[in-house]
């Protein structure tokens, strides 16, 4: 019994973690290339979620077909943000960058509140919605989560290969390692920065399109995912793409800590363990994990930037 609960929690954590790693991908690329932390990251995700929801509502198509639309919108949004706004922020001190992206976050969040209202909305029908799959013999997984996780891994792999194998990807990496040297090699770092924002924006809105399959969306959904993404990026190492994937899996498991706690309490049979309202601390562990990771290994698992 205990082992089944444990397996269930770990599988759920891993699947969620795969989606989370795509959420964090954009943040880590943007940070790696230009040392700027985007506090509006979760709001980009929210926009992706609303895109998935609205496209499937108005066209009647499955939410999964909204993913390309979400990617285009996210890429455009990232591009516009860079050219109109972030480019100006780069001249100022760090304080201005932090608060500037915070302003962007407030702006986008409340724009969504004005346009869509504050109520929770979720997808009601689709190919995957309402079905579930049994894996590993006894582990029941909603097929929305499984589908989202598989697509997330594909999206992640695609981005990774783009950055590692293509010439543009290599130029992006060069800009991240040393912008001055990259400029001497004839790379337009300004364009590479814009590209980082396009990839970052598109990646996170695609993640939003995946997430909306099993997660209700409201205008305030962003902050939680911003914090989750920060934790993943800190754990994986600021600027490291493979780090983001493994850290995403770890953070996914941390979010399933209440399930693991249940498994332990079933296994030991200790009474006091049932009384702890662990479910209310679902994300507290993630914040604590961020704090501890930063103290123990500020560079993260795969980090090279400090």
């Amino acid at each position: 019994m205990a082992s089944e609960v444990l397996l269930q929690a770990i599988v759920a954590g891993l699947l969620f973690g795969m989606v989370l790693s795509v959420v964090a991908l954009g943040l880590t690329i943007i940070f790696g290339v230009m040392d700027i932390v985007n506090f509006a990251h979760g709001e980009f995700l929210m926009i992706g979620m609303y895109t998935g929801l609205l496209v499937s509502q108005y066209t009647g198509a499955d939410p999964l077909f909204a993913l390309p639309v979400a990617a285009v919108i996210g890429g455009l949004l990232g591009y516009l943000c860079y050219w109109l706004f972030v480019r100006l922020l780069l001249r100022g001190p760090m304080l201005a960058q932090l608060l500037g992206t915070f302003g962007l976050m407030l702006f986008l969040r409340n724009l969504a509140l004005l346009l869509f209202g504050s109520e929770d909305r979720s997808i009601q029908k689709g190919i995957l919605v309402g079905k579930s799959v049994v894996i590993f013999g006894s582990c029941v997984v909603p097929s929305t989560k499984l589908g989202a996780a598989v697509l997330a891994v594909l999206a992640f792999l695609g981005t990774y290969l783009f950055i590692e194998k293509t010439k543009i990807g290599k130029a992006l990496q060069a800009t991240a390692i040393n912008p001055h040297a990259a400029r001497f090699m004839g790379i337009s770092t300004d364009r590479m920065n814009a590209l980082a924002w396009v990839i970052g924006g598109a990646g996170v809105t695609v993640a939003g399109g995946l997430l909306v399959n099993f997660w209700a969306v409201n205008p305030y959904v962003g902050l939680l995912f911003t914090m989750l993404a920060f934790t993943i990026v800190a754990l994986g190492g600021f600027g490291s793409v493979p780090g983001a994937f493994f850290a995403g899996l770890i953070v996914g498991i941390i979010t399933e800590f209440p399930g693991i706690w249940d498994a332990i309490s079933l296994w030991t049979g200790w009474n006091w363990m049932y009384k702890v309202p662990m479910i209310s601390f679902k994300y507290t562990w993630v914040y604590l994990a961020y704090f501890l990771i930063m103290l123990i290994t500020p560079k993260g698992l795969f980090g090279w930037k400090r």
Partner: protein, 336 residues
């Protein structure tokens, strides 16, 4: 003695600024005698509260350059300490406020020690994380009312109660807050002239140089953080008595932390008047926008949209805030 002399010494400021600040002080003192609506009064109270919050943030964030986005946790500790002390044990405000400050400062030392090993973005995000952890804790802790929060009933304590700070008319709160406000300005002025203040500005300019000069960088930051905490916690206590209804979502959310940082940043971080100017611009704007465009026209969230936009523009155009704009203008005028 030295400290008091420093606190009252405004001689290094230009004379025009001193006269202007006297005029503003006079206006603040006679404000309740003028025929203004109760809405204006409530806005002024909010202004005073946020100006002091902003001044607290300005010590570590402005003079020290350490972007702290977790000030809401100290608002929460201050507010909860006074409210819980009043409701559970009937401890008067004037005892529980210093108690709340002591608890806050203790907590700030506990988390400040590890926090200040981090720099820049890492520090900012870590302060958010600690604040959210504390908020999650308060949301399930039954003793302090969990997510529903606590409510001070004015029926139980007949106003006006100077010991417990329960009043019916806003005027009492106004003058009380004004007293705190002036005190805060003087403490701020002391800090500006103190050795700690100079050390901190040196750290902001160049941490390596500060280290080479023999400044204990880590300890200076922690001490200043504790000072900022004391400011915010004291004001949190008064805030709780004023609104009489506190819950984790209102008092400890990230929005409060950001608002506090924004006040100081919009006015001009690292200057004496910056947070006051920021609060004087942002608080009335926010409450009027909310009142007129939000409530009357049914556009929910429009106040924060405009708000966010202004922040974006300020951050992109003049990171030193309104005070920076003024100084630039003054510099241009006085230049030959």
């Amino acid at each position: 003695m030295e400290a008091i002399r420093n606190a009252l010494d405004f001689k290094d400021l230009p004379r025009s600024e001193v006269y202007l600040s006297w005029a503003v002080a006079l206006f603040l003192i006679i404000f309740p005698l003028l025929p203004f609506s109760s809405f204006a009064m409530a806005t002024m109270i909010q202004f005073l509260i946020f100006a002091v919050y902003g001044m607290g943030w300005n010590t570590i964030g402005g003079y020290g350059g350490q972007v702290d986005l977790g000030k809401a946790q100290y608002v929460g500790i201050g507010a909860y300490t006074t409210t819980v002390a009043l409701i559970r044990w009937d401890i008067p405000f004037w005892v529980s406020m210093p108690l709340g400050m002591a608890i806050s400062v203790l907590w700030s030392f506990m988390i400040g020690y590890p926090l200040f090993k981090l720099k820049g973005h890492y520090f900012a995000i870590a302060t958010i994380a600690t604040s959210l952890v504390l908020k999650d804790l308060f949301e399930v802790w039954g003793f302090v009312g969990a997510a529903r929060g606590l409510h001070i009933s004015p029926v139980k304590y007949p106003p006006p109660d100077f010991l417990r700070l329960i009043f019916k008319e806003d005027v009492y709160y106004y003058y009380l807050l004004l007293g705190f406000f002036f005190l805060a300005v003087f403490v701020m002025n002391w800090f500006r002239h103190s050795a700690l203040g100079y050390r901190l500005r040196c750290i902001k300019d160049n941490e390596e140089v500060a280290k080479a000069l023999g400044i204990n960088v880590h300890w200076a930051k922690i001490k200043t953080y504790a000072l900022a905490t004391a400011y915010v916690s004291a004001m949190g206590s008064v805030h709780a008595m004023y609104i009489k209804n506190i819950e984790p979502e209102d008092t400890m959310s990230l929005d409060i932390s950001v608002l506090i940082a924004l006040m100081a940043m919009l006015g001009g971080a690292g200057s004496l008047w910056g947070p006051i100017i920021g609060a004087a611009v942002l608080v009335p704007m926010k409450s009027y926008l909310k009142e007129w465009m939000g409530a009357k026209m049914g556009l929910i969230g429009i106040d924060l949209i405009i708000y966010g936009f202004i922040i974006m523009v300020i951050a992109a155009v003049e990171p030193k805030g309104l005070w920076g704009l003024y100084e630039r203008w003054k510099g241009k005028r006085s230049a030959p």
